[in-house]
Amino acid sequence: MTKSVTITAPEGVPFIEFEREFDAPVAAVFRAHRDPDLVKQWLGPRGYEMDIERYDFTTGGGYRYVHRNDKGEEYAFNGVFHVVRDNEFSIQTFEFEGFPDVVSIESIRFEDLGNGRTKLHGHSVYPTVEARDGMVASNMEAGMAEGYERLDKVLTDI
């Protein structure tokens, strides 16, 4: 059963939200966000290696990581974890180093749905609507490049 992500980016306000359900207990979903060895397996776009310099998913902790592809393109991100409550809630800052000083504040709520299921609620606030749209657009570049690579692969296969 698919439970696709829901994205909400209202007009005129600088935030973006997502919701997504998972067929896994909240402790597992939380661990996939906490343990860097797990984080690097899903957070980066496909076709990019995720090099985690530091990642301390605790209140007052911080992180820096770099997405790198085989063409040597790099996208580096850093931030601090303001609050992390196990299996419940986290707030972090998020900065793409390609857009220095444009920092978003991202919260994730881990909702236990029971029966081994979990719902994530994400909320990201940007300094301005323009920053939100710019960040979302640049975020997409990596993902779109990835789409092209996969299309290339399909095309060479036929």
């Binding site: 973006i16 997504r20 067929d23 597992a28 979903v29 996939a32 899903w42």
Partner: protein, 125 residues
């Protein structure tokens, strides 16, 4: 998916065009119907020339068109181009979904291994 690079160029130009508050208000006004430069300049405390420049930027981004209607030259909203812009949300959604599907399979792996003492070490190739 989009494979036409000029489509991405247009998207970039449209984002740049809409990054300006005056231009967003012009678009908002045009969504209620075509208007002349004079009519568009009216609510702003800037010169008609400045408004003309904003309209030129919107025109280059394909967001508005101008028709020759004798002296009036009304500006029209290009609704199709504006609609194409909303598709970035779909792309954003797609990227998140790809990421979360990867997380789905990772969660399958770690929950399947939960009875083990150290499930985290288990990695799929």
């Amino acid at each position: 998916m989009i494979v036409d690079p000029s489509a991405d160029d247009r998207l970039d130009r449209a984002f740049t065009a809409l990054a300006d508050p005056v231009r967003r208000r012009i678009i908002a006004r045009l969504s209620r119907g075509p208007a002349t430069v004079n009519e568009l300049a009216d609510p702003f405390e800037i010169t008609k020339q400045a408004v003309s420049k904003h309209i030129a930027v919107l025109e280059q981004a394909g967001l508005v068109t101008r028709t020759r209607d004798a002296q009036r030259r009304p500006v029209h909203l290009n609704a199709a181009q504006l609609e194409a812009l909303t598709a970035w949300i779909d792309k954003y959604r797609l990227i998140h979904e790809q990421r979360f599907r990867t997380l789905d399979s990772l969660l399958d792996t770690i929950t399947g291994a939960d009875s083990a003492t150290d499930p985290i070490e288990r990695e799929d190739p």
